[in-house]
Amino acid sequence: MLIKDKKENICNHLDIVEKALPSKTTMHVLNHIFLEIKPEEITFLTTNLEMGIKTTYGKEVEVEEDGKVLLPPRFIDVIKSLPQEEVSIDINIENKKIEIESGSSKFNLTGMGTEEYPVFFEKEPEEDPVLFTGSELKDIIRKTIFAVSKDESRPVFTGVLFSIENNTLSVISSDTYRLVMQEKPLSGWGYGDGSYIIPGKSLRELYKLLKDDSRVAVFPQDNQLAFSFDNIYFYSRLIDEKYPEVKGVIPQKSVTRCLVNKEILENTLNRASLLVDHSTQAANIVVNEENMEIKASSNIGIMEEQLSLNSKEGEELEIYVNVRFILEVLRVIDKENILIVFSGKEAPCIIKPEEDESFLYLVLPIKIE
């Protein structure tokens, strides 16, 4: 069968499926790209067993009957390197020979049969899925993914929890040092209450595939979560563990509440981060009668800076906190002002955008003895 197409068009689809190729695997077959051809349709598919991506696009293909073949890993680099825009790919399904021509350049590659490939099938949702726009879903991912843990010894924290209860979606992630939580009302979800822990790695790849105007249908499939949008079907394995109860760690009483300009605080903390101690990253935050003082010291030197508060309620207070944990959340908050609620030297500090109850960030202060 013969595919004639623009190089750019093929590359676009290869770029999509490349994201689910395994970085290293003992299953050699997974390094291949699954190609399925129908008279009017071309499908590329890859999986590393953690997640899988399938992309389909309409194209007139000279083909006698439907054909399937595994393309070798090098196929992607070959296509990207071709000299001319016009590309022709001739595949002999019988002996798996692949002939690629572009301009005067000619490649002969050998593919594999698809018998051993763990093909997954795109399924239709059984109930009503939830629909997001690409920008909504990207926003949810961006505001949680940064707090995901990289420590594989406690797998549950390497994922992001999507929990649905009474038509409210809570998205939570934590590396156990800090915790971020968002809440969104959900409409149209037909699967009832449930919890889904999606590996952070899968969400990072999904994020790259989403376009702002994508219409994304999200629904569970067996022990996976599927995301269907544009011509792409993306699934991720779920982490099969129980996420710890989060409500219990949110402090109920506050000692001090400060409203502060986000940009000013961010700039000050960026300066403090230059001088914090390398191993603890500890910055000292002091809330006085009417302003806030930020101090950092290490064997490099010391710094201190005062910044004014928009408003302050409650007691004066002093804590130490990992400066990186604060900076990372400030980067994802889009509001002009943020509210910081301190609940004592040992209780978590709460950071949230001004007048926005849907986003909550908790960070544990450093203990000094």
């Binding site: 934590s174 156990t176 040092y177 760690v249 978590p348 908790l362 544990l364 202060p365 450093i366 203990k367």
Partner: protein, 411 residues
Amino acid sequence: MSASRVIFLADMESFYASVEIARDSSLRGKPVVVCGDPRQRRGIVLAASREAKLYGIKTGMLVGKCLQLCPDAVLINPHMQRYLDVSVRVTSLLEEYTDRVFPYSIDEQFLDMTGCSGLWGTPREAARRIINCVREDTGINCRIGIGENFLQAKMACDCFAKKNREGVFELDSSSYCRYVWPLPVKELFGVGSRMEHHLLRMGIRTIEHLAATPRERLKKRWGINGEILWLNARGIDYSTMEGAVEERRKGVGHSLTLPRDYCNQKELEVVLREVTEEVCRRARSLGTQGKTVSLYCRGADFDYPTGFSRQVKLPAPSALTMEVFPRVLHLLKRHWDGTPVRAVGVSLSGLVKEHMRQPVFFSDRERKLALSRAMDEVRERFGTTSLFWFSSLTPGGQLFERANKIGGHEA
């Protein structure tokens, strides 16, 4: 560092035996041998008096052999607490002469005497004063090596001061080659029996030969250790007292020699739990936590070493047995090939101060820490055997065996 530093190494002669003789004057003039308990297979000579040494008795010799050489030898079980007390007393005596005393082992102490000549005269005069003072106060004979650095002092003491009548010897950078270079290479600090063997095979028989060997050749073969040997051969030593003290704080470790070969994994696990607990307790008492844990296991024959030494990084700094021990077990399961083990060691390195601690959500770490501290306090007040892991009662346990001992010998 200026070249005019004056470093002393004071070495107590036949230390354990001398302490026993000083306590009991009826032992004076007799061949006194302090040795471990023969029934525990720790029956080796720990110290022999000057008289006993005349019979050819040496430290490390089996008690049986020692009795063959000298049937009249007076065998004495060790009293470690006594020796520690005397050692501390000696330190305080030495501190009368300089504020920079660095105990190197129980019977060897370094003194930085730089700039003390106005107080105590020439280095040789100061050394004689110290020797007299120690002898009068404790009854122990000490010998003093003098050098411009730690290495020279150590070499002056081990190779010369111990062997001359006066008990004092002085080396400096210009006399070092005259005195030290003709000596056999095994006399050099840092050359053990295996290293000697390698060097002899390279045709290096004296320290002079080693000093004349290209530095690059030694570096290529043994890395930094080869370079240090070459520097030692030339009497060069850049270490400082502060550096030496700092060096010790990089890790907290504990090792012990087992009374018999351990071949059973369950027994090894029991003793490793005890060792890990001790390491973690020490780290906690220093207010530190380790980032890396290492384990070594070694067979009985030191000349043909078996066993391994491996390390692993902890996910977060820790000094909690409950967090460190699983990693030790993991190292054991992964690297132990089943050969008999006679010595084990566990250490925590990459120490960070514990006074700033990042607490965590969803964890009972704070409670574990509080529990560990409570356990430390109980043991501090009521002794190491007042609270223990149940496994210490099983055959592999060494806790009770060692509880009343210091360094594995009777207190």
